[in-house]
C-alpha cells in the first residue's frame, strides 16, 4: 500500500517501485502493469473469437445449403488423426498452464520443461496436420478450383474442402505463431528473465495458446464428425 505513487511529498516518483527493471515508466507498479497487460490480452482474444466467428458462420451457412455434400466429403478425413490432434492440443494446453503456474511459483526449471513440452506438442500437432494435408493434396481433395478429386458423387463437395482448408489453415497459422512465441519464451527463460515477480509474457502466451486450443475444440466436431 505504501508504494503507491501519491504525490503527497512531491517526490514520490513512479520509478520507486521494487521491480523497476520490467516496469515501464508510465505504470505506477508492476501489479498495475500486469493487470493492464491482461486486459489487453483478453481484448485481443475477443478479436480472435470474432475473427473465427466469421469462419464458423460461413461453415454453418454452406453446411445448411449443402448438407449431403458435407456429409459425403467429411468421410475423406481420417477421424482417428482428428482425435489424436485434439488430444495433443488438450495436453499441450495442460503443459502450458503448468508452465505459467511454475513461473508464478518461481520454479523456473519446471517452467522451462513445460514450455519445451508445449512447443513439442505444437510440433506434433503440425506434423499430424502435415500428414493429413499431404494425403489430401495427393488425392486432389483441395479447396475451390484446386479440387480435382474424381470420385466425388455429390455436387459441392469442394465447398467442404474450401472450409476445411481455410479453417484449419488459419488455425494452423495461429499454432505456428504460438510456437514462435513459445520459442522466444524458452530463450528468455534460459536467460533467467522470468521469475514469480515478472512472468507476464508467459501468462499472456498461455491465454493465447488456450484460445487456439479452444477453437480447435469447435473445429474438430465440425470437420471430422459431421453426421
Amino acid at each position: 500500500m505504501s508504494d503507491i505513487a501519491i504525490p503527497a511529498g512531491g517526490q514520490a516518483h513512479a520509478h520507486a517501485s521494487p521491480h523497476s527493471r520490467h516496469l515501464q515508466h508510465h505504470f505506477h507498479n508492476s501489479a498495475q502493469q500486469f493487470e493492464a497487460s491482461k486486459i489487453g490480452m483478453w481484448l485481443f482474444l475477443v478479436t480472435e473469437i470474432l475473427l473465427f466467428s466469421g469462419l464458423f458462420l460461413a461453415y454453418f451457412m454452406l453446411q445448411t445449403r449443402h448438407p449431403q455434400a458435407f456429409i459425403e466429403a467429411h468421410h475423406h478425413l481420417d477421424r482417428s488423426l482428428g482425435v489424436l490432434n485434439t488430444l495433443v492440443l488438450l495436453v499441450s494446453s495442460f503443459t502450458m498452464v503448468m508452465a505459467v503456474q511454475s513461473a508464478a511459483l518461481n520454479r523456473i526449471k519446471a517452467t522451462l520443461i513445460y514450455l519445451y513440452a508445449t512447443f513439442g506438442l505444437g510440433g506434433v500437432f503440425l506434423f499430424v496436420k502435415y500428414i493429413e494435408y499431404s494425403h489430401k493434396f495427393h488425392d486432389g481433395l483441395l479447396l475451390g478450383n484446386l479440387f480435382s478429386y474424381k470420385g466425388a458423387n455429390v455436387p459441392g463437395e469442394y465447398l467442404f474442402f474450401s472450409m476445411y482448408f481455410v479453417m484449419t489453415g488459419i488455425h494452423g497459422i495461429h499454432i505456428i505463431v504460438g510456437m514462435g512465441v513459445i520459442a522466444y519464451l524458452i530463450w528468455r527463460t534460459h536467460q533467467r528473465v522470468f521469475s514469480s515477480a515478472y512472468y507476464t509474457p508467459i501468462d499472456l502466451t498461455g491465454l493465447y495458446w488456450h484460445l487456439v486450443d479452444l477453437i480447435w475444440i469447435f473445429l474438430f466436431p465440425l470437420l471430422y464428425l459431421v453426421s
Binding site: 515508466h25 481484448l43 480472435e48 470474432l50 475473427l51 460461413a58 475451390g144
Partner: protein
C-alpha cells in the same frame, strides 16, 4: 463531485521549459517514438495527407459530373476514382481521424497518465496504418479496382485488377484500428489518475471508450471477410459466389456486420469532441452527463443490431428487414437525446463563439440533417425508393463529413493550442468555418433532391434532367474546398510565428490536459495529478488557476 482544489505542487509551475516537440529532436527520435503525443501528431499529418488526396479525388469526381457524358475523365477512370475516394475517406480518414489523432494526443493526459497502456503497440498501430495506406493506394497502381468501397461479391471476386491488394490493405488497416481500440480500453481501465472515477471522466473519454469497444468487436469481422474474399479470388472457394454454391448476400451480412458499427466508430468520437467543446464555450457544466455517457455506450452496443438496414433491397428476407428497421429506430433515439442535451447545455450559459464553438454549432446543424434524413432510410418502404441513390450519398456525407469531420475540426481548433502551443487567428478561422458550412450544404443539399428524384449513385453518365442539380452540387464542392484550404492555412501559419504563443488553458476548460503547459512536457505530468473536481466544473478549475497564479 467533490469540489476540492486541484492538488499540485508549487514546483510544477516552475519546471524548466521543455516540451515533447522540442525535447529529443531529430527524425529518428520521431519515427521511433513511443510518446502518445508524437504518435498522435504523426498520425495527424499522415491522415491529413490522405484526406487531401481523398478531397482532391472528390473535386475531380464532382468536376466530371458537370456534364452528363465525358467531361474530364473516362468511365473506367471515374469508377476507379469514386472507389478510391470511398476507400480513402472511410478506412484511411474517418475511422482513425479522431481516435488516432486527438484521442492519442489528449486521452492519456485527460486521464492524468503519462502514456497509453501499450506505447509500443501504439507505434505499431501507426506503422500498420502507413503500410495499409500504401497497399490501398498501391492497389490503383496494381491494376486498379472499381468495386466501390463496399467490395460486393460476385463483382469483386470475379473482376481482374487490384482488388486483392486492396483487400490486404483493408485487413492491415483493421489491425491498426484494433490496436488503437485495445490500447484505449486498457488505458481507461487501468491508468486513470487518483480520484478520476468513471463519472469524473470527461465525456470525450466515454466516447473513446465506446468507440474502442466497437473497434475491438467489429473490426475482426472485416478482417475475416477480407480473407475470405481473397480466398474467393485466389481459389474460387465458393462461399460468396452463387454460381459456385455460395451466397452473395452472405458477403453483405459479413461486410455490414463490420461496416455499420464502423459508422459509429466514426461518429461517436465526433460526438465526444462536441461534448467537450459545447460546455467549455458555454462556460456551464454539461447537461445530463450520465445520459450522454451511457448513450455513447448504448449506441455502441445497439449499432451491432442494425446492419441489415443496408440490405433492404438486397434479397434479404422481408422479416429480417422488418426487425432491422425497428432496431434502426431504436439507435436513432440516443443520438437525438445527445442533441437535446447539448442544446440544454447552452441554455442559460455564457456562450462565446470561438472557432471550436462555431464548428460545434455547424455540427449540430449538419448532423441534425444527417440524423433526420436517416429516418427516411430506416423506414423500409421509403428506403426502397432511396436506396443506392444520391439521397444516400448526401445522407452519409451529412453524417460522416457534416458529423465526424466537422466535429474533428471543432476538436482540432479546440486542442490545437495544446498540440503546438500556438493560437490561430480567430477571424480567419471563422471565415474558414463559414465557407466550409456553406460549401458543404451547397454540395449535398442538391444531392438530396437528386436522390429523391431517382438519380442512382455511382453513375458516370446521367439523364439530362439531372444536370442543373449536379452543377449546383459541383459549385458547392469548390466552395467547400476553398473553405478547407482557408482552415488549413489559418492553423498552419501560427506554427511559424512565435507571437501566437498559447497559454496553458486558453478556453478556461476544466479537464486535466489543460493543467499542463502548452505544448505539454514529454511525460505530460511531472507528478501524478490527483483529480478533485468534475471535468466540467469550470468554477473550481478557475479558482484553482487563480490560486496558483497568486502563489
Amino acid at each position: 463531485m467533490a469540489e476540492v482544489l486541484m492538488q499540485r505542487t508549487p514546483a510544477a509551475l516552475h519546471e524548466p521549459e521543455g516540451n515533447f516537440l522540442t525535447e529529443n529532436p531529430g527524425l529518428k527520435n520521431w519515427l521511433f517514438t513511443v510518446d502518445h503525443k508524437r504518435i498522435g501528431l504523426m498520425y495527424f499529418w499522415t491522415i491529413m495527407t490522405m484526406f487531401f488526396v481523398g478531397g482532391v479525388l472528390a473535386l475531380v469526381l464532382r468536376t466530371e459530373l458537370l456534364t452528363p457524358k465525358t467531361t474530364i475523365v473516362s468511365a473506367e477512370v471515374y469508377n476507379q476514382l469514386f472507389t478510391l475516394h470511398g476507400v480513402i475517406m472511410t478506412f484511411l480518414v474517418l475511422v482513425p481521424v479522431i481516435p488516432a489523432t486527438l484521442g492519442n494526443f489528449v486521452l492519456p493526459m485527460m486521464l492524468g497518465a503519462k502514456d497509453v497502456a501499450f506505447p509500443r503497440l501504439n507505434l505499431l498501430s501507426y506503422y500498420l496504418y502507413v503500410f495499409g495506406a500504401l497497399l490501398a493506394v498501391g492497389a490503383i497502381i496494381g491494376g486498379g479496382l472499381d468495386t466501390g468501397w463496399t467490395f460486393y461479391t460476385p463483382y469483386s471476386s470475379t473482376i481482374s485488377g487490384g482488388v486483392s491488394i486492396m483487400t490486404m490493405g483493408a485487413f492491415v488497416l483493421g489491425f491498426s484500428s484494433i490496436l488503437t481500440g485495445v490500447n484505449f480500453i486498457a488505458t481507461i481501465h487501468k491508468l486513470r489518475a487518483p480520484g478520476l472515477s468513471w463519472y469524473n471522466m470527461p465525456l470525450f473519454i466515454w466516447g473513446m471508450y465506446a468507440t474502442a469497444v466497437i473497434q475491438v468487436l467489429a473490426t475482426p469481422v472485416i478482417g475475416i471477410t477480407m480473407v475470405l474474399l481473397l480466398m474467393e479470388r485466389l481459389f474460387q472457394v465458393g462461399i460468396f459466389d452463387a454460381s459456385l454454391g455460395g451466397d452473395p448476400v452472405l458477403f453483405q451480412h459479413f461486410f455490414w456486420f463490420y461496416s455499420h458499427p464502423v459508422v459509429y466508430i466514426m461518429i461517436l468520437p465526433g460526438m465526444a469532441c462536441i461534448s467537450e467543446v459545447i460546455p467549455t464555450f458555454s462556460h456551464k457544466p454539461i447537461f445530463g452527463y450520465k445520459a450522454i455517457a451511457w448513450s455513447s455506450v448504448g449506441i455502441a452496443v445497439v449499432s451491432f443490431f442494425v446492419w441489415g438496414h443496408h440490405m433492404f433491397v438486397s434479397g434479404q428476407s422481408e422479416f429480417a428487414g422488418a426487425i432491422f428497421s425497428f432496431l434502426t429506430f431504436v439507435v436513432a433515439i440516443p443520438s437525438g437525446v445527445k442533441v437535446f442535451n447539448w442544446l440544454a447545455t447552452m441554455y442559460r450559459g455564457s456562450i462565446s463563439l470561438g472557432a471550436p464553438m462555431l464548428y460545434a454549432i455547424s455540427f449540430l446543424l449538419l448532423f441534425g440533417i444527417g440524423g433526420l434524413t436517416g429516418l427516411f432510410l430506416g423506414t423500409v418502404a421509403v428506403d426502397v425508393h432511396l436506396h443506392d441513390t444520391y439521397f444516400i450519398v448526401a445522407h452519409f456525407h451529412y453524417v460522416m463529413m457534416g458529423g465526424t469531420l466537422i466535429a474533428f475540426f471543432a476538436g482540432l481548433h479546440y486542442w490545437w493550442p495544446k498540440m503546438y502551443g500556438r493560437m490561430y487567428n480567430e477571424l480567419w478561422a471563422a471565415i474558414g468555418c463559414l465557407f466550409v458550412f456553406l460549401g458543404f450544404n451547397g454540395t449535398f443539399i442538391p444531392q438530396f433532391l437528386l436522390g429523391s428524384r431517382g438519380m442512382p449513385r455511382r453513375y458516370y453518365n446521367y439523364l439530362d434532367q439531372f444536370q442543373f442539380l449536379h452543377v449546383a452540387s459541383t459549385i458547392g464542392s469548390y466552395l467547400l474546398g476553398v473553405g478547407l484550404v482557408i482552415m488549413a492555412v489559418t492553423l498552419i501559419v501560427p506554427l511559424f510565428r512565435k507571437r501566437y504563443d498559447a497559454p496553458n488553458n486558453p478556453w478556461g476548460a476544466a479537464s486535466l490536459e489543460w493543467t499542463v503547459s502548452s505544448p505539454p512536457p514529454t511525460h505530460n505530468f511531472h507528478h501524478v495529478p490527483v483529480v478533485t473536481h468534475g471535468p466540467y466544473d469550470f468554477k473550481a478549475a478557475r479558482r484553482l488557476e487563480q490560486m496558483e497564479s497568486h502563489s
